[in-house]
Symmetry: C3
Subunit: 348 residues, 3 copies
Amino acid sequence: MKHISMTASEIAALVGGSVVGDPGRVITGVEGIRDAAPEHLSFVGSKKYEDQLATAKAGVILVCKDLAGASAADRTLIVCDSVDYAFAQVAARFAEEPPRAVPGVHPSAVVDPGAKLGEGVSVGANAVIEAGAEIGDGAVIGALCYIGHQVKIGAKTQLYPGVTVMYRCTVGAQCVLHSGVVIGADGFGFVPGPRGLVKVPQTGIVEIRDDVEIGANTTIDRARFGKTVIKDNVKIDDQVMVAHNVVVGESSILVAQSGIAGSAELGRGVVLAGKAGINGHISVGDGSQIAGTSSVMRSLPPKSIALGTPAESQREFMYRYSLPKKMQKVEAKLKELEAKLAELNAKA
Amino acid sequence: MKHISMTASEIAALVGGSVVGDPGRVITGVEGIRDAAPEHLSFVGSKKYEDQLATAKAGVILVCKDLAGASAADRTLIVCDSVDYAFAQVAARFAEEPPRAVPGVHPSAVVDPGAKLGEGVSVGANAVIEAGAEIGDGAVIGALCYIGHQVKIGAKTQLYPGVTVMYRCTVGAQCVLHSGVVIGADGFGFVPGPRGLVKVPQTGIVEIRDDVEIGANTTIDRARFGKTVIKDNVKIDDQVMVAHNVVVGESSILVAQSGIAGSAELGRGVVLAGKAGINGHISVGDGSQIAGTSSVMRSLPPKSIALGTPAESQREFMYRYSLPKKMQKVEAKLKELEAKLAELNAKA
Amino acid sequence: MKHISMTASEIAALVGGSVVGDPGRVITGVEGIRDAAPEHLSFVGSKKYEDQLATAKAGVILVCKDLAGASAADRTLIVCDSVDYAFAQVAARFAEEPPRAVPGVHPSAVVDPGAKLGEGVSVGANAVIEAGAEIGDGAVIGALCYIGHQVKIGAKTQLYPGVTVMYRCTVGAQCVLHSGVVIGADGFGFVPGPRGLVKVPQTGIVEIRDDVEIGANTTIDRARFGKTVIKDNVKIDDQVMVAHNVVVGESSILVAQSGIAGSAELGRGVVLAGKAGINGHISVGDGSQIAGTSSVMRSLPPKSIALGTPAESQREFMYRYSLPKKMQKVEAKLKELEAKLAELNAKA
């Protein structure tokens, strides 16, 4: 962390919160609630974690409105609307910055004379940029990256070391691609031919729009024809697989190891939790949430919540989940009926 | 796409189909059925998509025999045996080719003098080829690839940028390995020793035969001893994991994020759908199909269809899947019986 | 394999076993039990594989104590405590060594003058090492690796080609990192802000301790703040995902394609089988075992065995698994009761 300090009132002004306690209280860093010391700012974002407040040693604590009345004791609370967002804002002030990329082309990089580099572009050691590629102003191409022919990378986009973007694909502005990402490998398309499987040429591209972040070792395949599209502000975690011709809507979130099969279409603001899967050629409506390790087999309307494999609604899933308890009741009830019947039979 | 055009009769000749409508109709590109315009060829491969024919704007449409009688209206149909294969053939004609690899060794590549390169081999920028490696005629080693000691790469095989093939592994002819593939990392073998886990040396190799395609970021581990084998014509998607000593039979298909544990053996023409898993030390018979997200725990005979975790037959899976409905019936029936019993009891 | 030979008595001395049969019997290699020939050593580690002994052709066979009385016939048995460990010891003797890394910096590597390299360090072709990095004595940095600013790599640690370790992360001594591993990409943290998702700065590091092995294309993300920690002797397979702020306890084993969500904590000696998942912010107690393809949603006490999604105890899982059989019994019983009731009704 940086060696700086902030007072509670400065923090409240930054995050738009209100101070309960000493507005002059000084903190010199941020820390999780269990590890925080008196010189730290920390946070408790939900009433259900209220007990953590009692034992917390942090000097200043961001809390949600539900916790505004909690005892401040010897520390200061800052009550705010969105604790997560507020904490992110403060943490960003204290964050030690990552090493800054130096503008210019490292002498070991191989940049084709037919590539166009914008103002202030940084190209790292041993990176390779092919003919016809266009790199926007202020973009950073990390060490050992590969930028294929006619690829377009938008302004201020950052590629960490070891990213591969294959020919003709496009990446928008202010994107972040982490190491090991592969954009534009061939989609997986084979059809039975007279002498075994025949490759279907994958002639489309991947189009990644603005403000997209893509985690380490994620793969996004080029379209069979046309485009695989990742729309603005989509956030993708590590080891996610996006197949050919998929469309992912604005601000959707794909958590680690999730996967989307060919030609599926996700709306805006869809969330796939970790290891979730989406079948090919289906659509998932805006704002839907898919539980971890669940696989969606059929199209879903907007705002769906789906769990399990094949994925069901929450109500269906909970019913299925409760089957063992229901079965125990049924078995008990059957015994009871049998006994009553035997009794009746004896009487008859 | 290329700027070329074809007539319906030329297309019919290429795919072995028959024209219904105007054989002179000209198209200048291919497109999916929903996006196709009058200058495009498109396809409808199954009777169940017949309604797409009604609204399609494509000038020429490849259709299956079931749809031979469909109204052609103002466009031309071409009836063919395998619509998918036919479309792939036509699409290949129109496909803009990927940038062609230039034969020769890029000056930035590091090729050990003890490596042998065949005729017309292309080695990309910053690639590394170690001593004793042998690269077959016409093979392409992409930029930033790593080819280990004594590795053999077959003729006309293409490694896209950033592929790693570790020492002594072999890759056959006409294979395609996409970016981020790792062939021949150590198998995962540890045994409890007197002072913690002890590594079991992984001294075998990976042997990949001919006409194999391997998707981005897939990993295939070397054998504990002997070989991990991928037989002819196997097609592997992105982020697939093949463990040590696995054998994958001819023309099998491993879809994205599937995984095969150590020493398992797949027969010919096996299909693992996305995210499927195969337990270690079991065998899966020829032509078996494993559903997505399913995990196979026991060996399966040829032509098995398996679903769920642990994977079951289709009949077993459907029975299990229908348990909630059965439970509702059981609960209703129990109430009915209870009522009848109470009635009888009252009478008695 | 190396061209050496060993006698049964030499092998028995190495592994601390006792010979049944000819102590002078010579073998020249090791092989799996099905493929072994008379010149090979092989092994049968469990009574349940006893039938393999009958047909085995291996000259010398390591067996567990339960099999000490098995007929030796024309070969020699060596009875030992831990067959797996014993076999690993012998296999290591015969194993052909991997190509040895040459100490020194390859001329094509880009090593910042501000990096510190220990004694006997090997840096492969086209590798990149940034300013402030420290590489311990005898460490091997493979070709095309990227070592970020202020990274520390411990003594005798081996990075195979194409590993990425991002700024400020630390790797201990005697570790092995396979190709495509990415250490220290940003954790996945976004919060809703006034204009869409806002990135939470990920300012922590990854700390990997000693004797850790990490499989190909595995990703371990840096902490939001503080550390993501992989403790001593942890063994991680290929394509495993470890999210920000996770702690993995000593000697734990993470099998391929498993994943651990943010801030989860695993105890000592935990085993995640293939494709298992651990939810964020939970803890898994020492010595717990999680079945393949299972997802753990709640914290587990030490020595738990958990299966299914959401993961349950073995007893709960088996009950759930047996529901179809129970349902069939229930349906039969209901019919029986109905018939009896009808009979009674008729009588009444």
